[in-house]
């Protein structure tokens, strides 16, 4: 046993070394992150929302969303039974907000994943290769860069019908160019480093350079970009749903606000119908932004020192 362990540590494989280094890096990262109070707050809020989104089917149950057998009377102000009052169908607004977190977070993450995947790939390709491929990719990127999300979402909703996937696609398709630009810049910087040249000299091909050297180095920036982008995606989802382009049978925060507005909640003073989903949107967007900033700060020492 003792021999085993000692011999194991004595003849550490490169893989183990790598993992040990990664563990250290994560620990350092966390240590730095912890110093950022706002980042911690964002993380806490975010965990809360993610947790509620995961648990809501068991805690609240789907029957709370029934419009034909609602638990209460329509448009009741907050009470002991319904902490945030009821909506136009008699459902608890609190339950709607909890269920809405599922939709908003799903859209936020899915749309971000699409845009990060597309943006990362195109960014690395455009940075790594030069010449016509790079030029072509950049022109396409520029073209998408100027495409307004909302207009595209409206057009897509018209063509594909109103559904969550339409919204996800619309956001994903319009949000990737910034990532692509960012990743390309980082790729250029990384590839200018001497060890890349060495890797090439040792026979490293395109794939090797891109996947082994460039990708790990752009990941941090991609991570920071992701957290910032989720907030934007959630806001866009709410806007699109608020415009009535979402699926009305899915209780997202945006569609709840839209329903409240359709009901005339603003001039009727029904704050409990319109404020909670609005505050939820603001909180989640804020939480993601704080996390993103904190990560950025950790990864970029220049930001940290300030």
């Amino acid at each position: 046993m003792t021999t085993n362990t000692s011999s194991g540590s004595a003849r550490t494989s490169p893989r183990q070394l790598t993992w040990a280094r990664r563990r250290r890096a994560v620990a350092t990262f966390w240590r730095e992150y912890r110093r950022n109070r706002a980042g911690l707050f964002g993380l806490a809020v975010l965990s809360l929302f993610v947790l509620s989104a995961l648990l809501v089917p068991w805690v609240v149950g789907e029957e709370a969303l029934s419009v034909t057998r609602p638990p209460g009377e329509p448009l009741q102000p907050p009470s002991g039974e319904f902490l945030l009052g009821t909506d136009r169908s008699g459902r608890s607004v609190l339950d709607l907000v909890l269920w809405g977190s599922r939709v908003s977070l799903t859209v936020g993450f899915a749309a971000t994943f699409i845009s990060i995947a597309v943006g990362g790939l195109i960014g690395i390709l455009a940075g790594h290769f030069h010449g016509w491929l790079s030029a072509a990719l950049l022109r396409v990127t520029d073209w998408f860069l100027v495409m307004p999300t909302l207009v595209l979402a409206v057009a897509l909703a018209a063509v594909l019908g109103r559904s969550l996937s339409t919204i996800i696609i619309a956001i994903g398709v319009t949000a990737w160019p910034t990532t692509a630009r960012l990743v390309r810049a980082q790729t250029l910087a990384v590839e200018a480093r001497p060890y890349i040249e060495r890797a090439r000299a040792l026979g490293g091909g395109h794939w090797h350079v891109m996947s082994r050297h460039v990708l790990p180095n752009v990941m941090p920036i991609v991570l920071a970009q992701t957290t910032l982008m989720v907030a934007g995606a959630i806001l866009t989802e709410s806007t699109v749903a608020f415009l009535g382009l979402g699926d009305p049978t899915v209780p997202s925060w945006g569609s709840t606000i839209q329903a409240a507005r359709d009901t005339g909640a603003v001039s009727s003073g029904m704050w409990w119908y319109i404020l909670p989903p609005g505050i939820a949107i603001a909180l989640v967007a804020l939480a993601f932004t704080l996390c993103g900033r904190a990560i950025e700060g950790v990864l970029n020492p220049r930001l940290r020192s300030r």
Partner: protein, 624 residues
Amino acid sequence: MVRSRDSHARTTPEWRVGRRRRRAVAGVVSILGLLAALLVGGASAQAAPAEGSAGEEKVLTIAVSQEVDSLSPFLAVRLITTSLGRLMYDFLTNYDPKTGESIPALAEKWETSEDGLTWTYTIRETNWSDGQPVTAEDARWTFDTMMKDEAAATANGNFVENFESVTAPDPRTLVIKLKAPQATMLALDVPILPKHKWENAGDFAKFNNDKEFPVVGNGPWILSEHDVNNSITLVPNKDFWRGAPKFDKLVFRYITDPDAQVEALKAGEVSFVSGLTPAQARSLEGADNITVNKAKGKRFQAITLNPGAKLQDGTEFGDGNKALKDPVVREALVRTIDREAIYKTAYGGFGEANGGYIPSRYSDYHWEPSDAEAVGFDVAKANEILDAAGYAKGADGIRAKDGLKLSFRFNVHANNPQYIQAAEMMREWAKEAGMELKVLPVSEVGALLDAGTYDILTTGWSVNPDPDYILGINRCSGLPAKVGGPYLSDAYYCNPEYDKLYAAQLAELDRAKRAEIVKQMQEILYKDNIFVVWGYADQLEAFRSDVIGSMTPQPDPGGNFNGQDGYWSWWSATPAGEESNEDSGGTTGNTGLVVGVGAAALAALGGAFLVARRRGGATADDRE
């Protein structure tokens, strides 16, 4: 021909009417802005200076949001412009607000020949607002132009379809000869225009009557100013034969946001607001100096079930779910609709659940099923008849027979929150009977209808005092002649028995007998379960009682003020404190609004959006 669809704002189906304004602008606004609005709104709700009572000039300000399509009565089909037409020009006859029967207007009397084919009207001796006399020649020219010029027939062409000839043998006599008897000769809702101003107007398809202000007319109000999308101002016609209006000015002020309209009413910036939501109406009921009017609905809300779209020659087209051809399936579906619950929840209790085609406010023509006849809410019965007919539930809980799944696309007008809410409810009920409704909000259903690519869609028509038009849309002859061709209705309904009765009621000049036939027609329509009426939502409107002392609703009592089939409300409106010896004092009214028109922001997107929508229509509803 597509145009015949929107022939009348009075009978405009919702799917032809523009997108709701709010959606447009509103959306882009950030949510935070909205929250701010809430706070500001709450604050401003307190202040309530009465406008009009202070100065010497009494102004009646009405909040509107629908854009003007055209000020030319030949072209105008929207509620706002057809209503303006009623204020600006006199019609041959009016509807008595109390009885709904035709009473003299520009025609002071009339007579008809034995065979009902010749109608002779005596034109009242009055003047146009520029001093020229109003003559029978003006009326003749108006009708004749509509008969000969297709552009001039855009809005009201259906009234003259059956005209053989129109002549004016002398300045006081108008003679109309018909091809066949027509029961609607005292319900010709056509503004009579001044020939001397109009005959040189040029191309009627392009002339919008907005070059010269004030616009020469002979109605109770003269249109003096049109500040596009800002305000429309009218001044009283002091010489109006029925008596001059009592306010000094009538202003239609554009406020596109419904919540902002209500705030403006609370603040006294406007005196009249229509199209309230149930929640708004409830909150205004307690407000000082504000009277809320809940008028019986002039409009019915309904769904149509696609019984298999077909052309006049019987050729079927489209891809409607064939299961809906089975009367059992249709009955089962209708049995899953709880009309009472829809009006209780979605319409906040402001409405009447009723399966009759003609709204109950028209009591003489209205028909409704007896308890024995009613296809009422009964999910157990729905399950029972579907079981008996062999539609068995599959693993997913959805019934099917011979590969036909009872899964239906349900296209709902996205701009109508109540429809959406009702659709959500219907979806859950249908599920309990093993049927699936896929709720698909759409901005307009016209393209789906033209292509026959729908299963179920929402609809709503506003019904005239005379039921001829609304009955006429469901004739077999109304079916399109070719795919994509003009189609008046939205149900692909065709029943020869119904058609026979339609002809009979049109030729029946005795009102009571005609009403009997009209009721039989509604019974047939009801039993076929293709055009499924839910009921009639109340028209909710509110006005400042410290500005408007009294005005006449239509019908009186219990009717609406805005969007009347006549000029009664704004003509009779009396400033508060001056209503001492008024003859009619309706204090409650309502509005039903054919809701307006696209919003400014979307207008920009509008073009591209509509194009995309139209093109994408067919694919859109194939999707889940």
